[in-house]
């Protein structure tokens, strides 16, 4: 079974600084997808960024980027120029490849605090 590990239960960063959230995963698959979701206090899970395992290029979405190290099974999220609105729980998630309806395997989450 796949597992996803987020080793940082909580992180704190000053507004406008950069922060990196860690995620490692364990799988025997070669084809899979990785996601970062954000859950603010409103509880709505929001997709931040996604990465296909077959792509070597790291995904980027505005201030959010990932460092995907397939051999190391690592998928960290970097948030640049942190803003107060970035404060939330962040979840790393894994999905196997293929066209099936597989659910996501989530990490336990990292609570990100933004200090003004």
């Amino acid at each position: 079974a796949q597992t996803v590990t987020q080793s940082q239960p909580e992180m704190s960063v000053q507004e406008a600084e950069t922060v990196t959230l860690s995620c490692t995963y364990d799988t025997s698959e070669s084809d899979y997808y990785l996601f970062w979701y954000k859950q603010p206090p409103s509880r709505q899970m929001i997709l931040v960024i996604r990465q296909e395992a077959y792509k070597q290029q790291n995904a980027t979405e505005n201030r959010f980027s990932v460092n995907f190290q397939k051999a190391a099974k690592s998928f960290s999220l970097k948030i640049s120029d942190s803003q107060l609105g970035d404060a939330a729980m962040y979840f790393c998630a894994y999905r196997p490849g293929g066209g099936g309806a597989d659910g996501l395997t989530f990490g336990k989450g990292t609570h990100l605090i933004i200090q003004p």
Binding site: R43, M45, R50, F91, G98, T105
Partner: protein, 115 residues
Amino acid sequence: DVKVTQSSRYLVKRTGEKVFLECVQDMDHENMFWYRQDPGLGLRLIYFSYDVKMKEKGDIPEGYSVSREKKERFSLILESASTNQTSMYLCASSSPGTGPNQPQHFGDGTRLSIL
């Protein structure tokens, strides 16, 4: 925008009751999912469905069942609620049509308390 609507934001029930959590999506998605979210444990998959009347067990199906009679609606059923089922429940949907990397879209969650 995809809209996934869960019928209740907060729900309080008693031990032994039969509890229904309802979820409706408006984007004609084939796939629907139920997760449970507990502090320090993240989200865990309970059941999912890839078509009407089809269902698959997730990682923690014990004590739960599901129903999908219509494509847009996916219900989670607690046959006889117990206090250890007090949790946040999140519904999600996705479409396989544009590739397996497509994200799941989540509802706002139902915070269920079993007394």
